[in-house]
Symmetry: C2
Subunit: 217 residues, 2 copies
Amino acid sequence: MSGQADANSDRAIPQPVLNRIPTYLRAAEDLLADGTETISSSRLAKILGLTDGQVRADLVYFGAFGRPGVGYRVAHLVEELRRVVGIDKPWPVALVGYGSIGRALVAHEGLRRRSFDIVVVLDADPAKVGRKAGRCTVQPVSELEQELTRREIRLAILAVPSGAAQDLAEQVAAAGVVGIMNFASVRLRLPEEVIVMNVDLTLLLERLSLRLKVAGH
Amino acid sequence: MSGQADANSDRAIPQPVLNRIPTYLRAAEDLLADGTETISSSRLAKILGLTDGQVRADLVYFGAFGRPGVGYRVAHLVEELRRVVGIDKPWPVALVGYGSIGRALVAHEGLRRRSFDIVVVLDADPAKVGRKAGRCTVQPVSELEQELTRREIRLAILAVPSGAAQDLAEQVAAAGVVGIMNFASVRLRLPEEVIVMNVDLTLLLERLSLRLKVAGH
DNA sequence: CGATGTGAATCGTTTCACAGCC
DNA sequence: GGCTGTGAAACGATTCACATCG
């Protein structure tokens, strides 16, 4: 059995596998809520539109959670995967930019429920500073470094205009952030150790449009 | 696995290629704005973090836009790729759900600038019906089929609570929609011809969290 | 007997090297 | 000479088949 979090690593884990792991967790949590006790790789695969072999191969990257002849105990699977994904403990998150996307994120009750807790909200607009933003009060970006280092924040959400994104990304990275979810339509240039997840809505719509065209619609 | 009629096109285009095409378009548009006239595959590759051979191979799937010894004419590349992606003409889009995410999308001026024009906004909450939503007025979901068929809408954005998503997805699909951008945290079960692009923010944050853990952070 | 974990074979994507054109 | 388009080689991921275990 996997002992501790020997984070890295027996060998490199393919990116597609990493992308699927949270979907396994999601499915397992749904099953747990339904009262299902055990789940086989084939049933889990059917839920997610995969093959049973793929499910087993993916899970084995993070340790052998299953029992031959039985399957995976759902409660155990949820617990292990939450640990693997890193949401067994809450992440304190900084939200930079309190525009319409920022407000949607603060209002999104699913985030805290899934261990992402927005504890700092910052904005460059003096008119927004001082407003209530969920449990936070909007603070000026001038306090970015101080707040992020003080609270030891390593995860930030950037929901700012494209023109401001690169500068602010550098600031949060300099303040110790190692993961950024970026809603701006720009490729951020940052030190390699900082991991960026881009959520470019127009780009995603363009991918959808292209897929429709290719499908003949 | 799905036995689909490959009635159209020379051969199937890999999904990774389809995902990259809009990023080529984005880069080309930036270059056009900078006044750059021609671009080589190697320079374009450097901008996007790819290899030159990959850029050439990807673009050739959609026709040979480049000229040996010269490169790609930026203006031509933009024009061709906009046509390929399907944003040479505006898409009329229906927005279902005028909560905080819906409001953020209506406020997002980048969407219309990139040919995605929200022309109908619907919500189930009577308190929201009648409100101004950008250029639209929020309409009740009871008018969904009528509005979507009347305007011949084929692209919809679903920004509704998870519990309502499946039902509304079926409704928009029945009204002729073939592409859905889904912000709810559920896998929609729809006829195969309907293409769904999921934008599950908590799932994306979990992927980011996992990547951070694997990277040792 | 049923279902996992695992190496081997298959499939698809990326990379490479070069012929051909500007 | 520089750069594209293109087949062939290399690489990585998925699928398969089976030994193993409860």
